[in-house]
């Protein structure tokens, strides 16, 4: 009897694993296919036989990608924009997050309302006037202009996340510091910031990836080929010579995905921990 029950439980578990693997096949197959294509010699790509593991393994496509000066330049541009954006977002969101969680005034509701509202409006409404404003500041077709846009774009999420964490920090710590004569900015950057390091790390990575991935604003705001970011360059890369570059395109796409995969691997603990649970509980 007992072993029968154990057998039944084992069967159920096997079925559940199978179901999850079916999901993962759908979710992972496109990436695996891209990785496989990036290592196949061109004749094999066009051989008409679907194989996930290349019969001949080659690094040619990666080499040819790394020889593309414009693509390399665009990677550097994306890195630059991503790093500057994420640092600025966190530095200016931190005092704001502190203000939102420590002071309960009518401004809170306005800011939270704005965070939600930003989700409703299609980017097209903002794009055209934004272009005009940046032009009058002489910031169109500059990376600085793009950074400015991304900073504002990232603020809602970073602010929402940081203020949740600040709430968890006991106020007594700050009161003690205030009695010792610490100023407000000292309290924020010397006491709150170190305690928030995990959340700040997550915010930095989030802001970096958003900037690294973004396509629409970069497409419209940057005109010089020298300044284009990786997503824009990837879109161009396919446009010019089309199908013939399947292999190098797969290699470049995979390279563009690596930072995000690293981010998700690092954030695994964060996903598993109580952070999001706290967020959805509200």
């Amino acid at each position: 009897m007992f072993s029968m029950q154990l057998f039944k439980r084992g069967m159920i578990k096997a079925v559940l694993h199978m179901l999850i693997l079916t999901y993962l096949m759908y979710l992972l197959f496109p990436l695996l296919w891209m990785i496989s294509t990036s290592f196949k010699p061109t004749p094999e790509i066009y051989s008409g036989i679907p194989t996930l593991i290349p019969e001949v393994f080659t690094l040619d496509h990666y080499v040819s990608v790394l020889k593309e000066e414009r693509l390399l330049k665009s990677i550097l541009n994306s890195l630059y924009v991503g790093v500057i954006t994420s640092v600025i977002v966190v530095l200016i969101s931190l005092p704001a997050a502190y203000a939102l969680s420590r002071y309960k005034t009518s401004i809170n509701k306005a800011v939270m309302g704005w965070i939600l509202t930003t989700q409703i409006f299609p980017a097209i409404l903002i794009m055209i006037p934004l272009y005009m404003i940046l032009r009058s500041l002489q910031l169109t077709d500059t990376l600085a202009g793009l950074v400015l846009v991304y900073v504002v774009w990232d603020i809602p999420f970073v602010l929402w996340m940081l203020q949740g964490y600040v709430k968890e920090i006991p106020v007594e710590l700050e009161e003690a510091a205030a009695i010792d004569g610490a100023t407000q900015s000292q309290i924020i950057y010397k006491i709150i910031m170190p305690l928030l390091l995990p959340a700040i790390g997550a915010s930095v990575m989030f802001a970096f990836i958003t900037a690294w991935n973004e396509f629409f604003f970069a497409l419209v705001l940057l005109k010089s080929p020298d300044l284009s970011t990786l997503p824009v360059e990837l879109a161009r890369f396919t446009g010019i010579e089309g199908q013939a570059r399947t292999g190098p395109l797969a290699a470049a796409s995979f390279m563009a995905t690596i930072p995000s995969i690293i981010l998700f691997a690092v954030l695994r603990k964060w996903f598993a921990s109580g952070t999001l649970q706290g967020a959805v509980k509200g």
């Binding site: 704001a96 055209i128 999001l276």
Partner: protein
Amino acid sequence: MSVTAGVTTRPRNRNLDQLQLLLPILVPVMLISLVPLIRGIYIGFTDYELGGQMHFTGLENYRIMLHDRFFWRSMGVGFLWTAIVTALQIGLGMGLAMLLNQGLRLTSLYTVLMLVPWAMPPIVRGLIWRQIYSPDTGALNLILTQWGLINEPINWLTSFEWAIPAIIIAGIWGEIPKAALFFLAGLKTIPSSLYEAAELDGATSYRKFRHITLPLMKPIMAAVVSLSFMWNFNAFGLVWILTEGGPGGLTRLPMLAAYEEAFRYGYVGYAAAIGNVMVVIISLFLFFYLRVQLKERLGE
């Protein structure tokens, strides 16, 4: 001394204190988000064309829209796309979240792997699926041919029959991880004691789902449905890369229509007007949907 802030010992205007700290974000937000937004809404009531003068024309754009076949077609496909992608991503996302909440071995590995599509840059998502659908080197054609299901390759993205299913399958693929992640977080907040108590009473799995999981998940479900509706209705990048709205405007979602009006034809005023209509539609949906949700919850 103030209890919460503990920063100053003399009474000051708290709003002013707070405002000072918020200033570094308020200035860029005003300049880059709020002002352009308000201006964008206004442009939707003008005849502005790229490089031209701007004249207030009231509701003229919306009068033109009423008779614009392309606009109605794009709204039609926009609703179809939004409804199907949202429904399937909720259903499939919930299913996946429940599977990941069974306490199976390898769950944390599964969770990371399921997030992969979300981790990819949207442009790469588009490029990947374009490659899969490609008529000569695409995995889909190769596999279907090898299995003998089709005789000759199909050009999925330019076919009138297949273009819409093709973009929907790619769209859901990118959205399942987000939905599953939110649902998983929600499921974890349900105390296991509830299920244990139900098991003692001999409840079946279906009844546990129906009477414990579903009611407790309703608020999160409402949040995910609202967000997904907004994101899907405003979608642009993926479909742009896959089809650019083709074949023959069949997959021209509202955002693609607005983008083309503005940047291909230069009708900026009309493009902004389409944007305004989209905002109204989303707001109406949220209003009625959330009201129904709220009533249900108060009724219980």
